[in-house]
Symmetry: C2
Subunit: 417 residues, 2 copies
């Protein structure tokens, strides 16, 4: 049976049969790509970005910028771009109708059927997507760093990536994820977007969403799964290291705070754009393609600085509501309340003056001290996992350092054909 993704289109993996891959790229010009583009090639080929089949042409970019829609009317909030400089276009002889092969780590990764070479006003793109054209916005910065020519065309993988330890079990592309959801028997699933190691506030965000997702299901045993979908992409110093993020999210399940009956950890390769409301729509599309029915949205979803109102994403989601195939569930912040002696949600109990926020700084200092925090702040098993990840993957630190960026193993490799 066809698996239908965003925009009502069938999700198809665009991956050549290994026996035919060599032949498909024989004699083609090779163009090496950087990490961001390699991530997005994977997303395109496995259907994370369905109905997109490749990098956007001008009509789609124009639609996204002007109407938050592809040229065919499908909602789409963020341009997916392949860029080259004018010199590169000339040197590689890139032109419409001519296929090239994209390489990563020196090896062939994907066939790129070039449709179109075009230019687009980057400031206009920024204003549309990020609501600002200020270079200090990290999404704008990334946009301005694109080279001046954009190339549209379909992508097909010639070689599946080898996902390295410990990420392998968490790489669950749309068709695979949909199969697992069927096997689990979940009639509802709720996506948790994260780039964090979970403290109990995050745990309860998910637990709250679990109830929200099954509110109207008259069921004897809620067949609801929380799907943690970690965004794995560009890292900055002081972020949690990727290994700690996925292993600690999974640890919540392994240690029984959830169970395999209602929890699954997965990842998507993507460099955050911090587009706030637009990225919220983008997340809805990603998780629709993953076969997920509900999506959690908290305060300031995927925002940065004070560019977006705390609940601006909620309002944008509501404005396009019926056109998305995923149901948003909205949540407040969760806090620790010493009077309730438990985790509570903003606005739930009335001990506001005594509630303690989970500040990033507090959690960071707890983790940095290496002293086991109370189990109502960070679960002891999660804490142990953080420390194990620091030793094994982070040169002693669970946070990204210059040394980690230099020495870390790649999340995936493209091996020789």
């Amino acid at each position: 049976m066809a698996e239908i993704g965003h925009g009502g289109k069938e999700i198809k993996e665009r991956i050549f049969d290994p026996s035919k891959a060599r032949e498909k790229i024989k004699g083609l010009t090779e163009i090496p790509v950087r990490k961001q583009i390699a991530n997005e090639i994977i997303d395109l080929a496995y259907g994370f970005f369905s109905p997109l089949e490749g990098f956007m042409g001008k009509a789609d970019v124009d639609g996204v910028v002007k109407n938050m829609r592809l040229a065919d009317g499908t909602i789409w909030p963020i341009p997916i771009l392949f860029d080259l400089s004018e010199k590169e276009v000339a040197d590689y002889g890139v032109e419409s109708g001519k296929s090239v092969v994209l390489t990563y780590q020196g090896n062939p990764m994907a066939l790129f059927e070039v449709d179109e070479v075009f230019e687009y006003d980057k400031a206009a793109m920024c204003k549309a997507v990020f609501g600002t054209d200020e270079e200090k916005h990290p999404g704008c910065k990334r946009t301005y760093e694109y080279k001046d020519k954009f190339i549209g065309g379909k992508i097909t993988l010639v070689k599946e990536p080898k996902i390295n330890e410990p990420f392998g079990p968490y790489f669950l592309p749309p068709l695979k994820m949909r199969q697992i959801i069927k096997e689990k028997g979940w009639s509802r699933t709720v996506a948790h977007q994260t780039r964090n190691v979970p403290h109990t506030g995050h745990e309860w965000l998910m637990k709250g969403a679990f109830f929200q997702a099954y509110a109207d299901l008259p069921i004897e045993k809620p067949e609801v799964g929380v799907v943690v979908n970690a965004i794995i992409g560009e890292k900055r110093v002081k972020d949690y290291i990727d290994e700690a993020i996925v292993l600690c999210q999974d640890e919540l399940e392994k240690a029984g705070y959830f169970g395999p009956h209602n929890h699954l950890t997965s990842l998507t390769f993507w460099d955050m754009r911090y587009a706030g409301p637009k990225e919220a729509i983008f997340h809805a599309i990603l998780r629709t393609n993953l076969g997920i029915t509900h999506h959690m949205y908290g305060r300031d979803h995927a925002g940065v600085g004070d560019y977006y109102g705390a609940y601006e994403a909620h309002h944008l989601l509501e404005s396009v509501g019926e056109e998305l195939d995923i149901t948003p569930v909205y949540s407040m912040n969760w806090l620790y309340c010493p009077v309730c002696a438990e985790i509570t949600s903003e606005g739930l109990c009335n001990h506001g003056d005594q509630q303690q926020k989970f500040s990033g700084t507090l959690i960071r200092s707890i983790v940095t001290d290496g002293v086991k925090p109370p189990r109502l702040i960070i679960r002891p098993e999660v804490f142990d996992q953080i420390m194990a990840c620091a030793d094994k993957y982070g040169q002693g630190s669970p946070f990204v350092t210059e040394e980690y960026l230099e020495k870390r193993s790649p999340v995936f490799d493209i091996e020789p054909l």
Copy 2:
């Protein structure tokens, strides 16, 4: 603006202007009523039972028994009956078209415009409402105890009841409740049916329902209220005393586990029928009339023994879904999990073998011992309130005793006109 209740009908209070009451009943035959009937007169007069305006006639009873509907097609699950013996009918001269005055505590309470005197097969009634005609089912027992003639006709209060301390603030009939909900600014409300003093499992049932009720609301601050609606009626030995039920539910708010911003305690006079699924529908109607938008349904709602499947009420509610103006929210049991070190819901965490149920026996033994339990089992303020109620209202016990039944003050009085 008209307040619309169950069945799309306007809710109207049926209460005479005090200056005219005396005149309305002048010269009419007086018939004393028992407590159950006095409760239901209040419910009818204030619109708790809207669209009913009085005790049911034969066509309505027949509709309820055969189709779970009034004669006009409105969903209704439990007959509301006024009974007399054949001898009483003769002695009082009760007949169609002749009004009588119903008295309680020796004082005039309501005008009863007799429409119809009829008989009905009680066993058929039992089978339809309770799914059994066994006399040991408490609802059947109550049905068989009705005398043999039923009298249908409209009811109008001639004297509002005086609600006694400490119940006064919690008597919030439909029009009053709807006004309070407007003043609170709640766009969603979720009803909690109770006859219990709350432990933390009950507290989290309500907290879970709070999230469920606002799942799809994109709001900056959830304007959701939990409306506790305690059923106050016939008491049995070992029940919690009524005073403890309402004061302890309210204590959860006073002590800040909720707040006036999201919580309200109220009561309805009603002798439980233990009709399980049918009583669940009845509760939906009651709370619709109270202006509440959502209703919590847990395991074995309003059931007794093993007459009903644990989730049979859910299924019946779903089968009539669109015809009710209240949205059910379904919940599992809540438990204490020592590994999570918090209250959790059945099926939420995976520490099933270590979870501790809130057994009635456990809670009873804690309360009987009078030793303050952990705050994660019973809130200390609630515990203190239980003990205060035991002293003040329960002759030293928070549980109903023969002595309490004999000595307690009435919940309401009908004073002389």
